[in-house]
């Protein structure tokens, strides 16, 4: 996706593909990938991952384009620094802020997406393999008699999602010298 920084033609082609991916519902995309490769844990992870790519690509591209026009990038170029080094050491680190925020938000939905795939039977087929999504799906049948069966996996998802959000916040602070004390 760094390609977005070089070559207008390449950028155009890549972004149109990304736009097409964005047009499809995330879950549908994930289902397609899962159906193509067959159900397994790896599939779930891959499927959910691929479905998130376009959002990150757009976000990172936008941030990099806006950072790319800043004076300090020009200053590095004026020093004679090569384009690849400028992209990696100047533009990329300064473009990561929104991506990190987005990724913490996405992790929560990714867990839920994975759970949904498992619910649809596209997850790991091994019933002895513990997975919150599968557990939640199984618990549905006993919701009235044993609500705790659903509550604990759900709590697990929530706590994990919250944890990742806090982690993201901490990472952003650690990476930004302005927020460091």
């Amino acid at each position: 996706m760094l390609g977005g920084r070089w070559g207008r033609q390449l950028d155009n082609v890549v972004m149109r593909v990304i736009d097409m991916m964005l047009a499809l519902p995330t879950l549908l995309l994930a289902v397609t990938v899962a159906a193509l490769v067959g159900p397994s844990l790896l599939t779930v992870m891959l499927a959910v991952g691929v479905a998130q790519v376009p959002i990150f690509a757009r976000l990172l591209r936008g941030a990099m384009i806006s950072q790319g026009g800043r004076d300090y990038v020009l200053a590095a170029r004026a020093l004679g620094v090569g384009e690849r080094r400028i992209a990696l050491t100047h533009i990329l680190p300064n473009s990561m802020g929104p991506v990190i925020v987005q990724s913490t938000l996405t992790l929560a939905t990714a867990i839920i997406d994975a759970a949904a795939l498992s619910y649809l039977g596209l997850g790991n087929p091994d019933p002895s393999f513990p997975e919150w999504g599968t557990m939640l799906a199984d618990a549905q049948r006993f919701l009235s008699s044993a609500p705790s069966l659903a509550v604990y996996p759900a709590l697990g998802i929530i706590v994990t999602a919250l944890g990742f959000t806090l982690l993201g916040e901490a990472m952003r602070e650690a990476l930004d010298p302005k927020l460091r004390k």
Binding site: D71, L79, G82, P177
Partner: protein
């Protein structure tokens, strides 16, 4: 020989339109045929209002923007013809100081790393300068030691100390940040520094500090400056030679004092009359030439003289049809090296042509 000689430089930006496939529908002529020469050890000041192409010209010299046509001779080599690699190497000798001191420093780099970057890029420092491959840890320590020495020296030259090395740009005041920007340029020991609006983002009392610093450095290191600014008073203060730009072209060029004493081009005259002077007596006594209207679009510049649409001295002959060349005055030897791009400069100077009241700005006031 001039250190920098620009010949008929053109920078045109394509205007693109289209949703999926871009089409070029025209060009913005940001710089449209400028020639000038900067002498070693001197300061050339380029002044003009927004949109005149002065910033683009500065960037084009460093090849930070693509050159459409013309040549940029730097110490005998044409930079416009260099490939990207050689140009990057050449940048060691041409440096730039930017307008926005905070924006031009990477917020995630500390001062040490900002200043080291150029040295690392060009592999400067260490005992062997012959370009042999570095050998071992001992060698690297030596290189690092020398690089650090150079960085500290540059910091001290701009009035900061080694304590600044581990700090980040946001921890400094505006004036200090601009000093860091200057140190970054100095570290590479360049011959020419292009200063693009070096003080316009700073407070008044800090501006003077930075201007004095630039002058001191020139005295100590024999630097050559190309100073680009919109403020004629600043440019006149620092420059040996001043060039005035309007809509992509140079309209007048003269020794700094000559330009102030006898501005020849109608645009320079109106620009000069508009610069405020902090002295009420001068302000009250001054003649003001208020220009009509706004700057025309550089995508569609007027025919003939670019300034004719706003010029109070405009004549019916030639102004709208023929673009004037930058030339010396005929029959006025005392104007020396003073050059102007105006068909009627002699007759304007002698007072044969008077400004037209109608074309000056009309300000009508109600009851």
């Amino acid at each position: 020989m001039s250190l920098l000689r620009i010949e008929d430089l053109k920078v045109h930006f394509p205007i693109r339109q289209g949703v999926v496939i871009d089409r070029t529908i025209g060009h913005v002529r940001a710089v449209d045929g400028v020639s000038l020469a900067v002498e070693r050890g001197q300061t050339y000041g380029l002044v003009g209002e927004s949109g005149c192409g002065k910033t683009t010209l500065g960037r084009a010299v460093l090849r930070l923007t693509d050159i459409t046509g013309g040549a940029v001779w730097f110490d005998g080599r044409d930079l416009a013809g260099l490939d990207a690699r050689s140009m990057r190497r050449e940048r060691r000798r041409l440096q730039m100081v930017f307008q926005d001191p905070l924006g031009s420093l990477n917020p995630r780099q500390n001062v040490g790393s900002i200043l080291m970057e150029g040295l690392r890029t060009h592999g400067i420092g260490g005992p062997d300068r012959g370009g042999e491959a570095p050998r071992g840890r001992e060698h690297r320590t030596l290189v690092l030691h020398e690089q650090r020495g150079r960085v500290v020296q540059a910091l001290e030259r701009v009035g900061l100390s080694a304590k600044a090395l581990t700090r980040y740009p946001h921890e400094f005041s505006g004036g200090q940040r601009q000093r860091i920007g200057i140190a970054r340029a100095l570290v590479l020991e360049p011959d020419l520094i292009i200063c693009d609006e070096p003080v316009s983002a700073l407070d008044v009392s800090i501006q003077a500090q930075v201007l004095n610093l630039l002058e001191e450095l020139q005295g100590e290191l024999g630097l050559t400056y190309l100073v680009i600014a919109h403020d004629l008073a600043v440019v006149r203060h620092v420059s040996d030679v001043v060039g005035v730009m309007y809509l992509g072209g140079l309209v007048e060029e003269a020794d700094s004092d000559d330009l102030y004493r006898t501005p020849l081009h109608p645009y320079t005259r109106s620009l000069m009359s508009a610069v405020p002077v902090p002295d009420p007596e001068v302000e009250d006594a001054r003649e003001r030439i208020l220009l009509a209207g706004d700057l025309p679009s550089p995508a569609d510049p007027p025919s003939g003289c670019r300034f004719h649409t706003r010029c109070p001295w405009r004549q019916d002959e030639r102004c709208a049809t023929e673009r004037p060349e930058l030339r010396r005055l005929e029959g006025v030897p005392e104007t020396g090296t003073h050059r102007v791009a105006c068909h009627h400069a002699e007759r304007i100077l002698s007072g044969q042509i008077q400004p037209s009241e109608e074309r000056a700005e009309r300000i009508v006031h109600g009851a």
